[in-house]
Symmetry: C2
């Protein structure tokens, strides 16, 4: 059914073939034929890429500008986005880039009661996986203390990412006991609601949680807004690979940090300057120590798989993630209780090489 | 004599014609014909561009790697680089980019006893001009509390930037009472000297002075090294135009800041984290206030000229500096005592536009 489309995608270099177990598929690396980047194309099924959600950097004016009617406020969880779907008798998880993720697919039965797909085989569940046992997320996450958890935030009616209305989504979440993000209710652009929204954001901020998504109904406008402590956490975590990340990553977060603290009336209290400085300095001190002692900056990962062959597929998968190709060192794969544990290290080459060069006393022209 | 060379430069687009008063010249925008970028070509004289000086980001290993014999240590002043030379009966000042600077040329007789050019018309004096009355330097400078001052650091034997040996330079500086940078003496790579170098750097750092240049003799190797407080000052000053500067500007300084504090054994004391955070937060708070209240972030300049026609030339000159074209607002030119005072404002368009957009509640996809 989509055979010709697949040929076209490959001929025009808009997508790349992937393989998981015996299954091959195409992931769109660019939007094409009306399908967004990250869409997954099988011979007889397409799962659309997850739509990008814009960000407001100013809460009050942002809500006023973006939403004319009422809107839901839902927690935004800091993890990696998965689309969970049923295809020819199996449940698959796809990451944002359109890869079928061997880790998430392997572990999905631990994270979700998949019965919902028996009754509704055409639904696509969209959620965030996070936790210290994630193979992608670096740094701490306040919602999960060990291994990984899933938080569903959208259910799409079919493969085109046409989302169910919130109430219908809540009903399915409740009926199938799906793990989901916290929903904070429906709000409007009025002073009372704004006060309540700020109160919720303040408590998320105090718990180092990432932020929220606003979702208008029925028009489907969406916007995200994140907390200052989440920006701080990003800076602290990414300072370990400070020269492997776009420098704009940091500048954006510094600006948003000040904007959030200003808008929530926190800027004049509590050593926010010191916290921002610490986020950079602590990470950089550690990086310098690692580069001096081990010649590199890197991060250690430890993930559990149900099946050892999926760990092998995952090792293969890591080679195909842009930017990861040469920078993963597989350490160990061993059995522990009923799981297979994969340990690996991601190294940060620019940070490592540049700082090693600086520490060696090299001359630098800038 | 250089007429053909000038034609060649223009034909190959390696230089641009400039004009100051009745004098035309070519400034090299790229290295060409053995002459570096920033060289100034007249019909019968070429003044070479000032050579780039590399930076060491690690003091001990840097000195060890770069210098095998003894080396001078001299203060590095945070200002703008000028080459001062004599041509057909007049003294001119050229900036790094190869512009004859109407401001510096106008004011040079206030900054320097130009008698040296009577005895030595072929010398080129290289120095740094700085102070709150400078038209280029933003932010405070600890060495000059009002107007501007000149600090000579090199004397070139002719127009090729072949520098005089340090002792001969000191002799001329002393004989003609030239204003000069502080020279901290000759050092070697040995523990006693290194302790002394660190002591001097610590006191420069405590006075918010920029740093030092190391100069090897007779081989001419050079390296610069700057203090953490100078990095901090750069961050605080440039945060006013945070989105008009390469974001690497900030990342580099954050890294150098931590390296300096670590190397000088200061990192564990005195709230360095807080100071780093403050450098960002204070500037950004002010920018947000300015964008909210005036719609833009900008900086105000006030410079004194001896002759009003040079102020006019300077206004014209501002239009030719890359990146300045549309972002200078001339405010006033008026006489005060024996000087003409020019007031102008430089606006920071990306910082202004982006933050205005964020504050308006716009949706942003990143």
């Amino acid at each position: 059914m989509f055979e010709l489309f697949i040929e076209e995608i490959l001929a025009k270099k808009k997508g790349i073939q992937g393989k998981f177990q015996e299954r091959t598929y195409i992931r769109l690396t660019n939007a094409y034929g009306g399908w967004p980047e990250g869409s997954i194309v099988f011979k007889d099924l397409i799962i659309a890429g997850f739509p990008k959600i814009g960000r407001i950097n100013s809460l009050e004016s942002g809500l006023r500008e973006q939403f004319s009617g009422s809107f839901w406020m839902e927690e935004k969880v800091d993890g990696y986005n998965v689309r969970i779907f049923h295809y020819q008798g199996q449940i698959y998880c796809a990451t944002r880039g359109g890869f079928i993720c061997p880790f998430s697919t392997d572990r999905i039965v631990d994270l979700l009661n998949v019965d919902i797909f028996i009754d509704h085989p055409n639904l696509v569940l969209c959620g965030e996986i996070t936790g210290p046992g994630s193979p992608y997320i670096e740094g701490p996450t306040p919602l999960v203390s060990e291994d990984v958890k899933l938080f569903i935030f959208d259910i799409a009616k079919g493969s085109t990412m046409e989302f169910l209305p919130e109430r219908q989504k809540h009903e399915l979440i409740s009926r199938y006991r799906l793990p989901s993000v916290k929903n904070f209710d429906l709000f409007e652009n009025q002073p009372k609601d704004l006060r309540q929204i700020k109160k919720i954001l303040l408590s998320l901020h105090n718990e180092y949680r990432e932020g929220v998504i606003f979702k208008e109904e029925p028009f489907g406008r969406r916007a995200k807004y994140v907390t200052a402590n989440s920006d701080l956490n990003d800076i602290a975590v990414f300072s370990h690979k400070i020269l492997d990340v776009s420098p704009n990553y940091f500048i954006d977060r510094i600006l948003r940090y000040v904007l959030f603290l200003t808008e929530l009336g926190l800027i004049e209290e509590n050593n926010w300057e010191e916290k921002l400085g610490k986020a950079f300095v602590c990470g950089i001190k550690e990086v310098l120590k690692n580069v001096r002692e081990h010649g590199r900056s890197s991060r250690f990962f430890r993930c559990r798989f149900r099946e050892s062959k999926n760990a092998e597929y995952f090792i293969e998968h890591l080679k195909h993630i842009p930017g990861h190709q040469e920078h993963v060192i597989i350490k160990k794969l061993y059995q522990e209780n009923s799981y297979w544990v994969l340990e690996f290290e991601k190294t940060f080459p620019s940070t490592s090489d540049t700082l090693r060069n600086w520490l060696s006393g090299a001359l630098r022209f800038d």
